[in-house]
Amino acid sequence: MVGYFLKDSVKLADKVENNQIDQNKSNNELVLEQSSKTKPRFTRPPKNYANHIPLYTSEKIAMFVVSAIGSFLHPEKNQYIVALGESTAIPPFLKHLRQQMLDDPTGRQILRDRPNITSETLNLEKLASYGENTFGRTYYDWLKREKVSPDTRVPVRFIDDEELAFVFQRYRQCHDFYHALAGLPITREGEIAVKFFEFLNIGTPFAGMGAIFAPWNMKKRSQRRRLLSIYYPWAIESAAHCKNNLINIYWEKIMDKDVGELREELGITKPPDMRELRRRERAERHNK
């Protein structure tokens, strides 16, 4: 008990006894030396891949809650959507998806090659030179129309297993291809329609949440009506006819394929052009 109060003096006395005191160093220098050996108390587990940020379970839950609320209220802000996608991509779902990839020969090829989709690897200039009806040209035209690029996809950071992180990264990068196949724009309506289609085909929980909850936050009733009456049935029909899981398609290799053929193979139809419909409705409203 006395030792608790005399702690520092006892330590000093021990040091003097053991000749550990250097008489030539001032207290100032000793304090400076000691402080340079500090060890951080809060450490994260080691990273599994370059961009990995390992989170504790409580942090993951917190991220899920905050990103869910944020993406509902502000779906235009990318950070919420990205975080919600990664926090809902729980290992059971990702393992199921990986198994589906392993069951398919093309899927296995993708897992082996680990292709990364950027504007360089796709060679966008070459795509522009493809024929009118090829998938590559359709994709390129869609990118130009929507004024986006494949480089804006955020890398996966919060998924722990390295291979599962790649699977999710592949899923995220292929999202634009579904847009191009369906011809849907990157407006809120278009995104929800594609997300619903993705959910029905691939089964991502995050896409399902988006399909169920996102329309509630749509301000314009006409948009919601159009979405629910035209595009949701389209998504259900296309997904019903689509035999393959879209994650197993090696998009980079079918860039020169005829897009009509591709759509027929997959069983997808092209829904009514959303931008056209919106323009028409806006014109009608102005004319009234």
Binding site: N28, F42, A50, I53, S58, N78, A83
Partner: protein, 297 residues
């Protein structure tokens, strides 16, 4: 030999420079190279020459949302801390004196301490002549400060000068020319803190005051535990969602942890040559922040 990786375009935004550099050499080759000194960039070890650029990158990306993030991180308490420091320093040319004071605020890009000091001098002592130099290594933060000065009475006034300066050298500031040197939440970003303190000693007039407001160690272990959870879990996530930049806020939190504690920092101030009155520091909010004061005799 630890492997430092390239993380260039991997970030969404935030860093315009690679965070760390890839060393493909093994241990022997590394020793044969010139003796590169390493320093801390948060918890990462980076070559000294790079730290400046990396810190520059962090603050360029946080400049515009700096205040929003400061408010979110400290729940608005940072304003109270700054106000307390301004009141404690109590600077101003007294009515009977004829010489206006020269203030220097280092790493104070956005200018809140600078304007606060001048306002305090005017309100308490009717001092409308003292001059202020706001120095920051990052031109973006200074631009933000200039923008803000346009909305105050000091807009385009010859009393305030904004200079891009490295706090460790302060090249453009002559010796023995400053009456009050302040640095608020800036010194933890210096590559060589002792050099920064030595420069402060050089530019101050005899009798000049050095005051530093900075994050420090929470003394109580229980409070410290909760504080660490807050700073390591909540803050980066807030940065991720509010500013869409998790990495910059992760760096800020780590740099707080790496900054020396109150006693050590007071000793560093003594080492620079200052007379440190009493303990040398005042803890704010249980040690989350501390004001260190030194006087050049």
């Amino acid at each position: 030999m630890s492997c430092l990786r390239v993380q260039t375009k991997a970030f969404t935004k935030g860093f315009s420079m690679p965070l760390t550099r890839l060393f493909s050499t093994g241990p022997q080759l590394f020793q044969a190279e010139t003796d590169t000194k390493f320093t801390d960039f948060g918890y990462k070890q980076v070559p000294e020459a790079d730290k400046e650029k990396l810190v520059h990158g962090v603050f360029s990306s946080v400049a515009s949302s700096y205040d929003v993030m400061n408010d979110a991180m400290s729940m608005g308490i940072h304003r109270i801390w700054k106000r307390h420091m301004i009141n404690k320093l109590d600077c101003g040319m007294r009515a009977s004196s004829g010489e206006p004071l020269q203030f220097l605020d280092v790493a104070g890009g956005t200018g809140d301490i600078a304007f606060g000091l001048l306002d305090h001098a005017k309100e308490k002592y009717g001092d409308t002549q003292s001059k202020m130099i706001v120095a920051d290594i990052n031109a973006d933060m200074l631009k933000e400060g200039e923008r803000r000065s346009k909305k105050t009475v000091y807009a385009d006034s010859p009393r305030i000068k904004f200079m891009v300066q490295n706090g460790e050298k302060l090249d453009a500031i002559p010796d023995n020319s400053i009456d009050v040197y302040t640095v608020a939440f800036g010194i933890r970003n210096f590559t060589d803190k002792q050099a920064g303190l030595n420069s402060a000693y050089r530019v101050l007039k005899p009798g000049g005051i050095f005051a530093c407001l900075e994050f420090s160690k929470v003394q109580d272990p229980v409070l410290d535990y909760f504080y660490q959870i807050y700073s390591f879990s909540c803050l980066p996530m807030m940065g991720q969602f509010i500013a869409n930049d998790r990495e910059s806020y992760q760096y800020l939190v780590e740099s707080i942890r790496k900054h020396p504690d109150q006693e050590t920092f007071a000793n560093m101030i003594r080492k620079a040559g200052f007379y440190v009155p009493g303990k040398g520091y005042e803890n704010l909010t249980f040690g989350v922040a501390a004001i260190h004061v030194g006087v050049k005799l």
